[in-house]
Homo-oligomer: 135 residues x 2
DNA sequence: CTTGATCTGCAACCATTGGTTGCGCCAGGT
DNA sequence: ACCTGGCGCAACCAATGGTTGCAGATCAAG
């Protein structure tokens, strides 16, 4: 267990990795903005839990708060979310291509002479519209 | 906090959501197969931790083990991983389209902005067909 | 066959985190 | 002035990622 290399933006990933947080982002995107309590109305968790999640999302810059009277309105930082999405599709694309290559090799080996490819079950999405975000 | 909708395939997501598990899948894909100890050699965590992660991945069917002598070799279930990748890009696409539409709306508003401003009217937009976290 | 080196699984234990309840505080509408 | 609704903070609980330590297999030699 030697190398400690980590994908620098793991924070973004794990921020988006939580189902609740994904749904929160969804709601925020759908409604434009919202407070902890307003979000908790549409979620199966308490206001305080939502507040914590908002804190997390805020820390990685996926949302940011604007105080309005006695309320704190949150809205999504679209640019940052775009970055996250880019990473998502990035990883997806990487794995996808690997799977594709492996599958190709397997076929090549199996039928040592036929080179054309057959419809290989449930392939994922085609090439991701990949964003040039590292890797 | 009312609706308790939990996306069925959240398991797949959170399985892939962990950075360590992602790197494990990466290693397995790269090397074809591996054991807990062999993987832990290339990871910053102990063998036992890797074993636990392998258990998780096994439970959701992303990998499966084949006993070989006194070792247990794990290899990736490509089909299942393909499904996971599909979900990844799926969510990514959903958010992406939302971001795009929002941008469009923003432009529209800016064009006609001088007078009346819609409070949260854009909130009522019927938006995407389904819960993007669902599939 | 015995010994020793590994590879494995199991158990106890710690730290983080998602979640809850409960409280006190402050902004506002009546 | 008063009550109401929204927030933050603190205590507390359960699950999980991670560690160390140990007992049980199994292979390779001696």
């Amino acid at each position: 267990m030697a190398p400690a290399g980590s994908t620098i933006d793991d924070d973004l990933w794990s921020a988006v990795g939580d189902p609740t947080r994904r749904r929160m982002l969804d709601l925020l995107l759908a409604e434009g903005s919202g407070t902890a309590t307003s979000l908790s109305d549409h979620l199966p968790v308490t206001r305080q839990a939502v507040a914590k999640h908002l804190a997390v999302l805020d820390r990685v810059g996926l949302v940011h708060a604007t105080p309005a009277g006695r309320e704190r309105h949150f809205r999504v930082d679209e640019a940052q979310l775009a970055r996250a999405v880019a990473q998502l599709t990035d990883v997806g694309a990487a794995w996808d291509s690997r799977l594709r290559r492996i599958k190709r090799i397997a076929e090549t080996i199996q039928r040592g002479k036929d080179k054309d490819r057959a419809p290989t079950s449930d392939a994922a999405t085609p090439d991701a519209p990949g964003d040039p975000t590292a890797h």
